[in-house]
């Protein structure tokens, strides 16, 4: 993986010293909150309902064991012994004290982590496919490109005051695991007819109050043109994007209002003008980065132990059915560690659990870990012969839940349990749904199903792209939950459609149960997923099971 050079280290030390001084000046009263707020946000420090919150970037979701151990240490020393992994491949600490934050940032810097540009109208943490460098279906590892973008965007003088925040996601595979179509810029690696790798470039996607699926600005961008082309997009947006209205400021609105053709013209024009300035420097840097992301030395060996354990241990067999994905190296697998034990808070890990995962990565996983936008942790490179030992260690740590991609593998934003912007809670809804389906013992029969929950219209929990989306609202002083159906965050991305009137906190769990049991009756075979059935049948039969009284009335 990428290791900081002297420039990075010095830059970070200076930024942290600066922020330490700013915190001091806030505490002694020489800075007002209005002056301090933008400064703290630039350093990832929010003030939520019950406490401050520190958001730490995990660039493209990649961590080594030393970094994971440091996250555990920080959780124990300055927080309440846990951390929350988010849909943006960040970790959030929910309980830091203002005075401690500079020390936390220094501790992070020891392992090359920081909280810069996790907030504000800048280019945010670049996210990537969490199976990067490992997936069997990958064109190329997207992380060198993500790192290139990170270096280019960090403190980029032209782009510190964009009209609004700007999020870039990169997928190294044609199978989109990075939700590229719901980002300001999405990059999906593809090959052209000559077999050369390049990018399908997507702009103007986004969720929030005006959800939009991104549009393809160019179907194939040669790798060599990436940085000038991205810079051209961002600078066209910087000039054209609306600054008069916060709700119309994201590039999705700029694209919507000007049309993709006009944006494409302007970007091409700008691209032609600036391309020469890059003079190949970016390509030199990229090839250096590619060597730092070279694949580890994969081992060879037989996988008989794995097959044997599958036969003798049904729990292990079930876990390996759901939590493993195809690896590009022979005899290897990608392990997804579920942070969604039934009834637990989606995305939370205790310091002890973080250390267990760090140890496993170090012992069996070429020292690599990933954080997925689905709020799980990945061991990207594991030889199958080591899986029984890994499973046993995970089980002892409460980390062996066999539910990846299933109904209880729910994404949920912090909602009103933490977030100051929330209109309702989301965590308890996720907990109750997971517990209910665990009781019903139907999870594996139901098969792949993505439920995503947000606690307000900002959509941090990606509800618009959930097969079933749940949005928590405040209806006349009472929590109320609206269901959307048929959303999809993959390469066939779609925004879910509202099913109808919302449900109270008491009604929402039974409503989801009716919906999912209804699907079991509606599907044409056990192989037809919820989303496929929805696409085949349309919304009507699903609405009928959700609102049985209304269906009865209509029939009468």
């Amino acid at each position: 993986m990428y290791h900081y050079n002297d420039f990075d280290t010095a830059f970070l030390a200076e930024r942290n010293a600066q922020f330490r001084a700013q915190v001091e000046r806030r505490i002694d009263g020489s800075l007002t909150e209005d002056e301090f707020k933008p400064l703290r946000l630039m350093n990832g420090l929010y003030l939520q309902l019950h406490a401050y919150m520190l958001r730490v970037a995990i660039p493209y979701g990649t961590l080594n064991s030393a970094q994971m151990r440091k996250l555990a240490e920080i959780a124990e020393r300055w927080d309440k012994g846990y951390g929350h992994f988010t849909t943006r491949q960040n970790i959030q600490y929910n309980w830091p004290k203002l005075r401690d934050v500079p020390d936390m940032l220094d501790a992070l810097a020891e392992v090359g982590l920081h909280a810069i540009q996790t907030s504000g109208n800048t280019i945010r943490n670049v996210t990537a496919d969490h199976f990067a460098g490992a997936a069997a279906d990958e064109v190329e590892d997207p992380r060198p490109v993500a790192e290139l973008l990170r270096q280019w965007s960090t403190d980029h003088p032209e782009f510190q005051f964009l009209p609004r925040k700007f999020k870039i996601a990169v997928s190294g595979s044609e199978v989109d695991r990075a939700v590229t179509k719901a980002h300001d810029i999405g990059l999906r690696m593809v090959r052209n007819d000559a077999g050369e790798p390049g990018f399908e470039v997507i702009v103007g996607g986004g969720l929030g109050r005006t959800p939009m699926i991104g549009k393809i600005i160019t179907p194939f961008l040669p790798k060599a043109d990436l940085l000038p082309y991205i810079e051209a997009i961002v600078s066209v947006y910087n000039l054209l994007g609306r600054r008069d209205n916060k709700y119309k400021a994201r590039i999705k609105i700029t694209v919507h209002e000007n049309g993709i053709e006009r944006i494409r013209e302007l970007v091409e024009e700008r691209f032609t003008a600036i391309k020469e300035q890059f003079a190949g420097f970016d390509q030199k840097l990229l090839s250096k980065l590619e060597t730092s992301f070279a694949p580890p030395a994969f081992k060879t060996g037989n996988t008989k132990g794995f097959e044997a354990a599958r036969l003798t241990n049904p729990a292990f067999a079930s876990w390996s059915d759901t939590n493993l994905s195809a690896h590009k190296a022979d005899g290897y697998a990608i392990v997804s560690i579920s942070l969604k034990a039934h009834g637990a808070t989606p995305g939370d890990a205790t310091a002890d659990q973080m250390r267990v995962m760090a140890d496993l990565a170090e012992t069996y996983g070429h020292d690599e870990l990933r954080i997925s936008h689905e709020q799980n942790v990945i061991l990207p490179h594991v030889h199958k012969s080591d899986l029984p030992a890994i499973y046993a260690a995970l089980r002892d740590a409460g980390l062996a839940t066999a539910n990846i991609g299933l109904v209880s593998d729910i994404i949920a934003c912090p909602g009103m349990d933490y977030c100051a912007l929330a209109t309702a809670r989301s965590i308890p809804i996720a907990q109750e749904i997971a517990e209910r389906f665990d009781e019903l013992k139907l999870e594996h029969d139901i098969g792949p199903l993505k439920i995503k929950i947000s606690g307000c219209i900002n959509a941090c929990g990606h509800h618009h792209v959930g097969h079933i989306g749940i949005l928590g609202l405040d209806r006349a002083g009472v929590e109320n939950y609206q269901i959307t159906l048929g959303g999809d965050g993959s390469e066939d991305a779609a925004i879910g459609e509202r099913a109808g009137p919302g449900f109270s906190a008491d009604e929402i769990i039974p409503a989801i149960e009716r919906l999912v049991l209804g699907y079991l009756d509606l599907r044409d075979s056990a192989d037809e997923t919820f989303l496929q059935a929805y696409r085949r049948l349309g919304a009507a039969p699903f609405k009928a099971v959700l609102y049985p009284d209304q269906a009865k009335q209509n029939a009468a």
């Binding site: 505490i27 909150e33 019950h50 406490a51 929910n94 203002l98 939370d348 009103m416 809670r425 965590i427």
Partner: protein
């Protein structure tokens, strides 16, 4: 017609701890039961201004609707009830500390 004024308390987050605090007649408390209930609009506005001026102690002071009861002010809205208690997924925050 302007809406009738309903009772309120001044609440904010503490600058250093970040946690929820309520204004009392003489200072600040972490316990809502001790908070000063404000029944008069002009007085409430004045108390809010005073709170806002203590910028080295408090962040984001505002007036929150409360129902006066024998046990002290009771939140009208669920958001204030959560702020008074803490998160529902762990016993952290006020529910654990008070």
């Amino acid at each position: 017609m302007p809406r009738a004024f309903t009772p309120k308390v001044v609440t904010a987050n503490h600058l250093l701890e970040g946690d929820v605090i309520y204004q009392t007649a003489t200072g600040w408390t972490r316990d809502l039961a001790q908070a000063e209930i404000l029944e008069d609009e002009a007085h409430a506005e004045l108390r809010l201004v005073e709170a806002t001026q203590q910028r080295d102690v408090v962040v984001g002071a505002y007036l929150a609707d409360m129902e006066p009861t024998d046990a002290g002010p009771k939140p009208k809205h669920f958001r204030e009830a959560f702020r008074m208690r803490g998160p529902s997924n762990y016993s952290h925050g006020k529910q654990a500390e008070l």
